[in-house]
Each structure stands twice: as C-alpha cells, then as structure tokens.
Symmetry: C2
Subunit: 342 residues, 2 copies
C-alpha cells in the first residue's frame, strides 16, 4: 500500500485527506483557517497539523496500527505563486515533517512533496484530472486553467479591492452602491434599498457607513449580502438583475479568455464551477452556462467531482507515478461527499 496526504489549506478551513494509491479516500481531517498571510505562519502550521492528525488518527484507530508510512504529500494554499511564499510553505512543510506527535513515518522526496496554489488543487479536485478550467466564484472569484502541455492561465483573482469581478463580494458591493446611488437620486428606484434596510435592521441607509466601515466587517461578511441582491433580482427588480447579469458576463468573459489562451478552437474543454455564487444563487450557474456556450460552444460545464484536498492528493499520487482514477470523462461522481470516509 502507498499512502499520500492531500491538504487544502483554505482561508476558512483546512482539510486533510488520507488517500491510497488506488485513489481511495481512507479518512478525512479538518481544522480552522490556514491562511498564513492573515493569521500568521504558526497558526497555519497548527491548523495543518491538526487536520493531518485527525485524518491519521481516524485511520490508525480503525486499523489498530501505531503509525503509518506517508510517501507523498500534496498541499494547496493561496498565494504560493510568488517565490517568497513558496519558500515559506516549503519551510512550513519541513517543520510539519519533524513533528514527532503525528505518528507518521515520512518518506518524502522533493518530487513527492507537491506544493501548489489553491486554484490548482481546486482544478484537479474539481475535474478529477489535470486538464481543463475551474471557475471559482465565492467570496472572491478567479478563473484558472491548464492544458495538456501543462501551460496554465489565471484570469482575475486579484482580490476584493483590485478585481474579483463576478464574485459574491462584487455582487454585494455593486448592490450596496446601487442602493446608495438610488438614495442620492443618481439611479432609478430599486427594492435593494428596502431589502438592505430590512436585512441589516437599519433605520436609514446612512447607517450603512456604520455597518461597513466601523463594525469592521470582513470581506466575506460583506460578500454574504450577495444573497440579498439575488433575492431582490428574483422578485423582478431591474437594477438588481442588471448587477447579477453583469457578474455573470464578467465570469463568462474571463472564462472565455482562459479557454482561448489554453485550448484550440473547437477543442472540447471541461469547466468545473465552484463556490457559493454558483451554488447558492438563483439560476446563476444555468445563466452562466447558457451565456458561455454562446461564445464557447465546446465548453462542457460540470459540478465538482471531488473537493480540492482530493486534488492535492491526486497531484501527489501523480508525482509518484500513480494515476488511479478519473480521466475526466466520468461524470457519475458529482457529489464529492459520497466518496469520503469509505
């Protein structure tokens, strides 16, 4: 048996999967945020070790083993595209390997320690293979793709201040701006005003300043207001609908740019959609598909086959020479949760 760990070091949670060489997920651990850029490197290291420890302990208890040999480790984190950050994470992984509390015998080579961006593991996990595009729209947004030559392309993903067009934050802020412009008399009337006032329990719209600036709302708290824009749009409000449609068009356009820069015209491309905006919002994904297929008819939209941590594990297995599952043509496993903890 060959065992690898696949780790998704995210901003809200850290997931670790223990996977064997046939691609079976043997156990799963989860901990808090491992965003070292906001929370610091020690806190990230703790979260990663906690997730690993949980996954390993479940397996060892179940098998009545004392320890386990790990031959591959895949990990994905935001920001590792920069060399400085890559070095930070490499150093962090070295520290984790020396932690004697983990009941692990490590047998990792440089080759079998795979450190990648969060978008790369989302791509590989979402597709179940390495070639195609992932369209992410949650709090932030990003389009990321890779072709069969290993060339990658990122579009967007510049964060809430500099971009993230089409994201939850983008939709929420566009809705708030539209409500305030309407309040000023710079835009026609919209139900967004009453909807925000009601949802945030505000006497008047001026108090938005209090809410957004002084209460120290996080980017994801603001992004959560996207659902208000969606609700108002669903009731037929024209301004809210324009915001939703603009968000869709931004994502469609960004996806088209990624397709064109990686794939031949008429080449079939799988595109996996990930994130709360695609999942939670009324017809958003459907409209995205319709609009994208008008300009990219060979794009084939799928739901995530696995979670990003599985993508990290797959990358580690591939590095060891194992190509266990899913060439990308099997859509039977659309719900990643069904394959966990078996």
């Amino acid at each position: 048996m060959v065992y690898v760990l696949g780790i998704d070091g995210g901003g809200t949670k850290t997931v670790c999967l223990l996977i064997d060489e046939t691609g079976n997920i043997l156990s799963r651990g989860q901990a808090g945020s491992s965003n070292y850029q906001t929370g610091g490197i020690d806190s990230a290291k703790n979260a990663i070790e906690t997730a690993i420890n949980q996954a390993i302990s479940i397996f060892l208890d179940h098998k009545n083993y004392n320890n386990i040999l790990i031959q591959g480790l895949g990990i994905g984190l935001a920001g590792v595209g920069r060399k400085e950050d890559f070095n930070v994470i490499q150093n962090l992984v070295e520290q984790v390997k020396t932690n004697s509390n983990l009941s692990i015998n490590w047998e990792l080579t440089t080759n079998s320690t795979v450190i990648k961006s969060d978008s790369m593991i989302a791509l590989v996990g979402g597709l179940g293979h390495q070639v195609g595009i992932v369209a992410i729209a949650g709090t932030g947004s990003q389009i990321f793709g890779q072709n069969s030559q290993g060339k990658t392309k990122r579009v967007g993903g510049w964060g809430y201040l500099l971009g993230d067009e089409g994201s939850g934050y983008y939709i929420a802020i566009s809705g708030l701006k539209a409500a305030l412009k309407s309040h000023d008399g710079r835009l026609g009337s919209t139900q967004l005003i009453s909807a925000f006032k009601h949802h945030l329990n505000l006497d008047n719209l001026e108090s938005l300043i209090e809410v957004v600036y002084r209460r120290g709302w996080t980017v994801s708290q603001i992004a959560n207001l996207a659902k208000i824009v969606d609700e108002v749009a669903r009731k037929g409000d024209e301004i809210a609908n324009q915001i939703i449609n603009t968000a869709i068009e931004e994502l469609v356009f960004a996806t088209k740019i990624a397709i064109d820069s990686l794939f031949e015209p008429n080449e079939s491309v799988e595109i996996v959609t990930i994130g709360g905006v695609f999942q939670g919002m009324n017809n958003f994904r459907l409209k995205f598909i319709e609009s994208l297929n008008q300009i990219a008819p060979t794009a084939r939209l799928i739901l995530p086959r696995y979670e990003p941590a599985y993508g990290a594990g797959i990358l580690a297995l591939n590095a060891l020479g194992y190509f266990p599952v899913n060439t990308g043509l099997d859509e039977t496993q659309t719900d990643p949760s069904t394959n966990l903890l078996n």
Copy 2:
C-alpha cells in the same frame, strides 16, 4: 471685541482659527488628526486642544494678554450627521471647555456652539457664505449643497468601499483594475502597466497584491496613485483617459443632482471645488467646468475663498448675529492663505 474659534477637525490635520466679529483672522493653530472614529476620542480631544492652544497662545503673546473671552465656537467634523456622533462631539466640546490650561474664559450658549459636518464647514469656508455647492474630490469625494431656505443635499461621500465616485481613490483603483484586466487579456494594452510597475518598483504586476493587501496601505496611500493614472492619461493613453473622463462625469452628474434638488432652473449657483483631484490633476477642473456647464449653464465655478476652519468660524459668528464678510459675490480672495495671521 467679540472673539470666536473656528475649528476644522480633519482626518489629516486639525486647524483652529481665532476670528473677531468683523471676520478678521487673528491667529491660527494646527495639530494632527482629530478623526475620533479611527483614532479614538482622547486623541481627537488632544488634537483639538493643541490647535486651540496654539491659536490662543500666539494671540495672547502678541497682545500681552493673560486670557481671552470666547463667545462663539464653530467646529466641523466628519460623521456628525448621525445623532450618536453628534452627541459624542457635543460631549467632547464640553470637556474642552473645562480644560483650565487653555487661558480661555468661555461664554458659550447652546446657540453659539455650532457643531457641523466637515462638508458644511467646507461649503461655508469655500464659498465665504452659506448658499451654494461644494464639490470635494480628494482621497474621497462628496457633493454637498445648501439653498437659501437652509435645505441641504448630499450626493456621494459614501466612502471608498461604497462610493466616492470621482475621488482620488476611485481613479487610482480604476487604474489598478484596468492594468490587471489588461494583464489578464481582458482589456486592450495600456501604459498603466509599465507606469505602475515603474512607480512601485515591481518586477511583475502580480506583486500588486503584496503592495495593496499585505503592506497595509491606507486608503489615502492608494488614492495617491491617481497621479500615475493622470500622468499616463496626459501622455495620450486611451484607457487612462477613459478613467479620468469617467471620474469627471461621475462628479458632474452628482453635482447636477445636487443643483436640481436645491435650486430653481436658471438660478445662478456658486460651486466651489476642493481637494487634490481638482487641484493637482491635469485639466481635471477645467474639464469638470466645461462638462458641468453643458448641463448646468448657470453654475459658476470658484476656487475656495477660505479654508474650512474659517467656515466654522463664520457659522459661529452668524449664530451670534454677526455677518461680517463675503456675501458670495466677491471673487477677489481666491487664495485663503493671504488672509491668514494678519
């Protein structure tokens, strides 16, 4: 002699002017930020007392007096439109009045203690009287006006996340977004990319993420990048020019809304422009005037007659029944500095 204090409690500096009933400025004091929302109430109180103490000391030393009777106090601060904030400032003023180190005998009534928004004192100082419009475009932006019936109207000024269209921050962020979209392939080529890289000393545009998010840049540090967009526009770059023109149109439109909601059609309106975007940027103010006069031909643009602290002092004098200077029809005093410390 009747003496009043006019205080401008700003986010970068606090200014206090000592003014007599004829409108003469007798002395001037200056201290650091009195933005209590970011720096806390104690720090704001210190800044205000320091500015007052400086203004008073200069005057007392010059006259060889031991103390002075102050009968009016005007103060303008951001955010006092909200009742809670108004109460906070009123309380702060009460504390200042009990400070025995200030060599002041206070003789203030509720009526002669005038607490107003920063935009109101900018309006009155900028115009030298109370009726007209102030168009502010610095780090942030706001249009604020008052008519002869005392009705006021604010347009914009919702802060960097929720609005401030046409501000330095707006121009800078629009420039950064355009550079990144161009980098992604979502927008045509623009000199903004090389200009930002050169100015910020970046090897690649990806490092903008490091600069904007991780170095903890303030809003005004980001807003300072507006000058890069302006420089690139001046060299003929189409995308940079579009950003500048959109900023101008946003300010023109907001000003038009304020004019229409306060004044009769064809009524002559004075509009004072304030802030670094109007002052520092190439032809910005000229283009603003041209564009505004196309839709509001009776709008008459002026440069600030006095600084905001003088506006605060004027309001205190008016409250005491003194209407010393400047009905708003005299444009001879366009440089406020010439009238200081005489």
